[in-house]
């Protein structure tokens, strides 16, 4: 029986041996040369290869970040008119200080080109904070075009975001922020110090009939351009201190006959000092700016056929101090930050919008993590009118309690 099975196996092996040999030969051939493809397939492969080459995988990168802020504010306003005080109380969820939703799209192409686009939804509707393309031309030279934040002072460009600011509101009296144009900027070494430059040419400022300035969307009416620049110096080796000086100048008439040759000159000084002094982090920031438009003939709001004039000069500034016990042993205490800010804003006396205004803020921030903050700010804004022609309250004093949550993602 055993011999019979053995013989049977031998017979089967002999029978399939030629087939196995043929199969092995075909396999070996397949390894030596790729199978031939027809012309249609070859054309398709070529097209795909070209497509892949154009796509440059790994060079283009899209990142969506952004920020949102929401909160609640309670107001208590005392209005003084002809010596009589009137008190009003109100509260709001969703004004300019209590709501913002701003996703930011960053599109990087290689290491030379970056597109930045930040639409924003707030109580004014949907707008755009910036939309610009930057070309990194040299190691410390960036050329930018589009719609961007003007390099004037330090607050608007670097410190205004809700998750960066130390109190719930913006300082009063800072000139307008964004415009269309081109910009060159960069940071440069200076021995053990550093300095930076930021220069732009933009569509320009426009003088309004009441003497205030607006800055954007002039379109074809923009006849003169505005030059803006800021120089920053970081004199200390640990980068803890930055001092900045800014200027903005340009024609503002834009074809309006009553403002012939009108121009605006704005100047600003700013300071930013951040130092860790165990167990605290000390943070001091400030900016002072002036706006000088000179004397022009403005429309009289009482009788629009008549003109009147005033010295169109505004001054504004703020100083802010905050302290955080970052080295505290307590996890709760180390996330607390205390802030105080004082601001002033004097608009032209004898204009229709003249006022001397002060702003005082006390704030407590609780940092949930490095980019998420819950803050409570109490603010007093006191505005004493220096206006002429129009009648109105002589003083408006508002106390506001802000409770705000802000996050950057």
């Amino acid at each position: 029986m055993k011999n019979s099975l053995h013989n049977r196996a031998r017979q089967i092996a002999r029978a399939i041996a030629p087939f196995l040999a043929i199969l092995m030969a075909i396999g070996a051939q397949g390894q030596q040369a790729a199978p031939k493809t027809d012309s249609v397939t070859e054309a398709r492969l070529l097209a795909l290869e070209k497509h892949v080459a154009l796509h440059k995988p790994g060079q283009s990168h899209l990142l969506v970040v952004g920020l949102t802020t929401f909160g609640y504010t309670s107001f208590n306003t005392v209005t003084t008119t002809a010596g009589v005080n009137t008190t009003t109380k109100s509260s709001v969820m969703g004004n300019s200080d209590t709501y913002e939703f701003s996703p930011m799209f960053l599109i990087r192409q290689g290491k030379k080109v970056l597109l930045e686009f930040e639409p924003s939804f707030n109580h004014d509707g949907v707008g755009v904070n910036w939309a610009a393309i930057s070309y990194f031309a040299r190691p410390n030279l960036i050329i930018r075009g589009g719609y961007f934040v003007l390099p004037f002072g330090i607050y608007t460009k670097k410190l205004a975001a809700g998750w960066i600011n130390k109190v719930a509101t913006d300082p009063i009296g800072l000139p307008t922020g964004q415009d269309y144009g081109v910009e060159v900027s960069g940071g440069l070494p200076l021995g053990s110090m550093k300095w930076n430059y930021d220069l732009s040419v933009t569509n320009g400022l426009n003088l309004m009939p009441d003497g205030t300035l607006s800055s954007v969307n002039l379109g074809a009416n923009s006849r003169t351009k505005t030059f803006t620049g800021r120089l920053g110096l970081l004199p200390l080796h640990d980068n803890s201190l930055e001092l900045g000086v800014s200027a903005m100048t340009g024609g503002v008439a834009n074809g309006q006959a009553q403002f012939s040759n009108g121009r605006a000159d704005l100047y600003a000084l700013d300071l930013n000092y951040v130092k860790n002094v165990d167990p605290f982090q000390i943070n001091i920031k400030g900016q002072y700016n002036t706006v000088n438009v000179g004397s022009q003939n403005y429309v009289n709001p009482v009788d629009t056929t008549k003109r009147y004039t005033f010295n169109n000069q505004s001054k504004a500034g703020y100083g802010q101090f905050s302290i955080r016990p970052i080295e505290s042993q307590s996890a709760f205490v180390k996330n607390l930050e205390f802030a105080i800010r004082y601001g002033m804003y004097n608009t032209p006396a004898n204009s229709t919008w003249g006022a001397n205004t002060t702003q005082l803020d006390y704030g407590v921030n609780y940092w949930i993590n490095w980019r998420t903050v819950l803050r409570v700010t109490y603010e007093v804004v006191d505005s004493k009118s220096t206006a002429a022609i129009v009648s109105g309250p002589s003083e408006i004093k508002t106390g506001a309690l802000h409770i705000q949550f802000s996050i950057q993602l």
């Binding site: 930057s134 190691p139 440069l188 070494p189 550093k194």
Partner: protein, 94 residues
């Protein structure tokens, strides 16, 4: 002479500034302090200038590259600083 200088002061300051800027851009030499500092030190010093220092694990390596370019346009750090900070963050990124 004084009057001429006073009249031309704006031009002199502007020209001087332009010359210093052009020389600085052309030279592109890292400052001694930047060259001596680690990425971690530059990250701590520069980021906290405006906001809290970010956690390296908040973004991926590719994302830090993009954020580094964005921050260079915003904070005007030098390219050497950006490269060192991004390298440090990428080493410890998620």
């Amino acid at each position: 002479m004084k009057k001429i200088l006073a009249n031309k002061m704006g031009f002199i300051v502007t020209a001087g500034f332009a010359a210093v800027m052009a020389l600085s851009i052309a030279s592109c030499v890292a400052s001694q302090s930047v060259a001596a500092k680690s990425g971690a030190q530059l990250w701590a010093e520069n980021c906290q200038h405006c906001h809290n220092t970010p956690s390296p694990g908040s973004f991926s390596g590719d994302q830090w590259e993009t954020i580094g370019m964005h921050m260079q346009t915003r904070a005007l750090i030098t390219e050497d600083e950006r490269n060192k900070i991004v390298s440090f963050l990428q080493q410890t990124a998620r």
